[in-house]
């Protein structure tokens, strides 16, 4: 459930970033499409990175084991 919520957060942040880029750096349809591509790519990369680490920790096969004498 936490996975879906955070994914939704990433989507929202991505949309907001797209809108901000569109508003702040409006330089014609060709450049805007370029900026949109960059923002979407960055959002997907960041989401993918987060999702991989989150999924790996959802149902771990091993647990943290402290060193002796700690």
């Amino acid at each position: 459930m936490g996975f879906l919520v955070t994914t939704l957060i990433f989507v929202v942040i991505g949309i907001i970033a797209c809108l901000c880029t569109r508003i702040c750096c409006n330089r014609g349809p060709s450049a805007n499409l370029f900026h949109l591509t960059l923002v979407i790519t960055a959002t997907i990369c960041c989401w993918m990175m987060w999702a991989i680490v989150y999924l790996a920790q959802m149902k771990p096969l091993i647990v943290p084991i402290l060193n002796e004498g700690e």
């Binding site: 936490g2 955070t6 349809p29 060709s30 450049a31 499409l33 370029f34 591509t37 960059l38 790519t41 960055a42 990369c45 960041c46 993918m48 990175m49 987060w50 991989i52 680490v53 989150y54 999924l55 790996a56 920790q57 959802m58 149902k59 771990p60 096969l61 091993i62 647990v63 943290p64 084991i65 402290l66 060193n67 002796e68 004498g69 700690e70």
Partner: protein
Amino acid sequence: MVNEGRFLPTMDLLRSEPMQLVQLIIPIESAHRSISYLGDLGLIQFKDLNADKSPFQRTYASQIKRCGEMARRLRLFKEQMTKAGVSPSTWSTRDNHFDLEHLEVKLEELEAELLEINANNEKLQHTYNELLEYKLVLEKVGEFFSSAKNKAVAQQKELEFQTTVEGSIDSPLLLEQEETTTKQIKLRFISGLVHREKSIPFERIIFRATRGNVFLKQAVIQHPVLDPLSGEKVHKNVFVVFYSGERVKSKILKICDAFGANRYPFSDDLSKQFQTIREVSGRLSELKTTIDAGLIHRSTLLQTIGYHYEQWSLQLKKEKSIYHTLNMLSINVTKKCLLAEGWCPVFATSQIHKVLERATMDCSSQVGAIFQVLETKESPPTYFSTNKFTSSFQEIVDAYGIAKYQEANPGVYTIVTFPFLFAVMFGDWGHGICLLLAALYLIIREKKFASQKLGDIMEMAFGGRYIIMLMALFSIYTGLIYNEFFSVPFELFGPSAYGCRDSSCRDASTTGFIKVRSTYPFGVDPKWHGTRSELPFLNSLKMKMSILLGVSQMNLGIIMSYFNAKYFENNINIWYQFVPQIIFLNSLFGYLSLLIIIKWSTGSQADLYHVMIYMFLSPTDDLGENQLFVGQKLLQLVLLLLALVAVPWMLVPKPFLLKKQHQERHQGQSYDLLYGTDDPLESESQSIPHDEFDFSEVFVHQLIHTIEFVLGAVSNTASYLRLWALSLAHSELSSVFYDKVLLLAWGYNSTIVLIVGIFVFICATVGVLLLMESLSAFLHALRLHWVEYQNKFYEGDGYKFFPFSFTLLTDEDEL
């Protein structure tokens, strides 16, 4: 021309700018100015229409020779200014702009004046040096004679005393004395200076040549003397040689010449000696004044030249490049027009029109230049219009190969994926912040550094400042994901998901913690740090992450090849290249990625290693405990079959279809010939140049390509594991520096040890992690983009648009 924008909206940087081959017909009178204005514009790449001619056969060879002569003069000025310690003025006055003739005349005049001043100064200096030596000779030899005279007087008194005492033998002594006096009157002498290192052989040879019938005396001069001939400072001795007879004199003169000894006249009359010294001293001071005035004059002249030097150099470079460009143009038979051909971006058409019109008006030319677009089958050069942000990323791609004209540019996604993959390897938000500060420093000082001459390394760092900034930002992000701040974890996004089994925590070091809360919401759980199971967990996590990221990027590459095939309307590449490649990659490695995700989601204990191996070795056997989902066996069978089918699908059809295509084209040509038998001219014009189709060559090429892709899919996937390896290395090194340096120093409870520890920690962090590790991660990210990603779709066999531009000229050219 390819249909642009028909299927997809245009996007900056994805395709190179549309280019056109243009032809200019320029009247001779406005040609120079037209080319000059086009050089300022910097948007035309001229073709060399006189490639078959030698440099001396070209139209403007004489002008280029003149430019060469002027460049020689400027180099002479530069050399003279360097010697005189005058530096060219950086603020150059641009008010007066000379044309080439005026500049040539002025440089000629200045050169003549400078050479004259130099010659005069040299002559005066020579005379000055000679007089200086003469003065030294006068002083030293004067000392000789004074001391000799004193000795003679003493000796004479002694002789008189003896005569008085021994009166009985007066007659014989008086006679001998008279004879001695007679001999002394006949002696002569030569005086001058000789090099100190030559003085001993000089003395020896004179003694031998005259059989010992000379008297030679030398004195050392304490300070080095400026040699009149060589102009260098030399250690010398003053010498005086006493001799009798003309034959001995000629011998001595020859020996003096052989040893380079300078001779100066000397009078034995005391009053004349003093007079000569006064005269020489007077002339010396007079010459000194004259020499100083000459030097001031020379310095003034050089400073005047220095004010204009940069401007003149720049203008001369421009003129030279203009004439080189004019030499590329073809002059027509009537010698009234120049014909030019070149490539320019389509968007530059109106700008070029304006420039040519302006040149026509400025020259008051009656006929304007003609500008027209030519149709051609040649492949245009590749031109991406970038800004200061995107240019460095484009250079990363261009270093691998220049894109073919209008080929999909990997630079678009590289802007994000390159710093992202770097950050996956470098992830630590403490180090990311350090990198960000360095990048921001370079960006804030942008204007200052842009106008400076930086060192090699600094130049590269400055050129890549935006890459460094993005790498830093992504590193901060992945550092938060890895939960490392100089290798120290924090609970930034909530408490750890792991806790003790009971309140006593006795099992923490044996059985370990248990998961008592929901998953840590962002990044790696901080409890893993420092535990025995940290490495197994992180290794497993990062290896799987590498596979997932790698397969994603490779799929993106193959999808790019689809866009290329679509754009160039190459259906063969879509159906017999793109489709089987996607099927093959995702049947095997896409499936592996899916298994990874399923394993994580379900917490299964299946061994993916064995699943993949036995998918090939025994696909029909039961999976047993390695089953992750229902129907897995059937799916694996289907995927295996798909992969097996994809390989011949990639290999076989394309060569045959290309052959068929070629045959159809050939047949069409035959039909044209048949129709055109009535009109031989029309028939000739329709003939297309025959291109040989070698089926075996095409087939072998396709075979190599298929093998490369299939094997590449395996090796490239394994190659992405470097993301894990680099990340692990960075993390472990960071931990070692923190634990073994900082914490160890802290444990000593000594301020001095702590300061030393902090210092060592800072040096290790900056030297090893920020410099060496970041360079290493950079290179590996570069490799992943060049080979693993671009290999999937990028041909990179184009050539770069290199326009005639004064801006490029200023940076690159040297006089």
